[in-house]
């Protein structure tokens, strides 16, 4: 089996299980407050990590390349409350233009 299918089946199984955890197993019971507090903060922690690694990392190397210009454009779009599609589009367009001309 290819790596792609292993990841598809593995991540699919884990996600289906995680989503089903509350509705199927726990029902009305609640987790300890400390665990809920940590889980709630996973989203900002992991999303921030994804932004910086995908903007500045290639494998184990850190670098400033055309992606950084694109993400800077995306940041401007986000601050201006542009629709998500515009945020993504501006990042892609600026990165493509920098690669084309620089």
């Amino acid at each position: 089996m290819s790596t792609g299918w292993i990841v598809t089946l593995g991540l699919g199984a884990v996600t289906i299980g995680v989503k089903a955890l509350g509705p199927v197993l726990l029902g009305e019971r609640r987790l300890p407050t400390q665990i809920l507090a940590a889980l709630r903060l996973l989203a900002p922690a992991l999303l921030a990590a994804l932004v910086v690694t995908q903007a500045f990392a290639t494998g184990r190397d850190l670098s400033l390349d055309a992606r950084a210009a694109g993400v800077a454009a995306a940041l401007v779009a986000v601050v201006l409350r542009a629709p998500t599609l515009v945020v993504i589009g501006s990042a892609a367009a600026v990165t493509a233009l920098v690669r084309l001309f620089v």
Partner: protein, 219 residues
């Protein structure tokens, strides 16, 4: 009749996102192919995982040369928030176990958000209406991207690799209104950059999750 109205209300509430979801889906299909996945594996991942950020994270690990386990862990950690959302959804998703299992799959960021009733619980019919629209859009657009990759050309030339951090930035931004979340996000970013040169691709993202655990004790 009442249920139908709820389905429609949920579907309508996310319809404005459909174009963006479709763009993510097409991008994911393209990225999955460039990471060496087969088109059907890409479509199957969208159908079973149905969580854009986790899928992008997992496939980004593969694209960067990381292994399957690291890819699954990176994606699974991003989906840990669904355990919390599932808890708040539990009371609304009534029925036999297999019905709860299926309906729970429709609870993703957007359907969870638009089905809020205001008292911390969800509206079952709105979850279903919104979830089905998101599922259909996500899977269909993934297929378009995955099977049409030759038509679109090299995603790097189109700057699509920068679309991913841009998308994560757009998803991160709404969290930053809260002081504690801002500090956790900053810590996550610093940890990720610090760990990147030291560990296999994807491990940095997993390590950044520690910021959430530490941050939950900050006040």
């Amino acid at each position: 009749v009442k249920a139908t109205q709820g389905y429609r209300a949920g579907a309508r509430a996310v319809s404005g996102l459909a174009v963006a979801i479709a763009a993510f889906g097409v991008s994911f299909g393209v990225l999955a192919r460039s990471a060496g996945m087969s088109p059907w594996a890409a479509v199957a991942m969208s159908a079973t995982t149905m969580a854009g950020s986790a899928q992008f994270a997992a496939v980004s690990v593969l694209a960067a040369g990381g292994g399957a386990i690291v890819a699954v862990v990176a994606g699974a950690l991003l989906n840990a928030r669904y355990a919390v959302m599932g808890l708040s959804a539990a009371s609304a998703l009534t029925g036999p176990v297999w019905v709860r299992l299926l309906l729970a799959q429709l609870v993703v960021d957007e359907s969870w958000a638009v089905a809020q009733t205001g008292d911390g619980t969800l509206d079952r019919d709105r979850v279903i209406g919104a979830g089905l629209v998101l599922f259909g859009t996500h899977v269909t657009s993934t297929a378009v991207g995955a099977f049409g990759v030759g038509v679109l050309g090299d995603p790097t030339t189109l700057g699509l690799d920068a679309a991913f951090p841009a998308m994560f930035l757009a998803l991160l931004w709404p969290h930053l209104g809260e002081r504690q979340a801002r500090r956790v996000a900053a810590a996550g970013a610093i940890v990720a950059l610090a760990v990147t040169p030291l560990a296999p691709p994807g491990v940095a993202i997993v390590a950044a999750a520690g910021a959430a655990v530490v941050g939950s004790r900050w006040r």
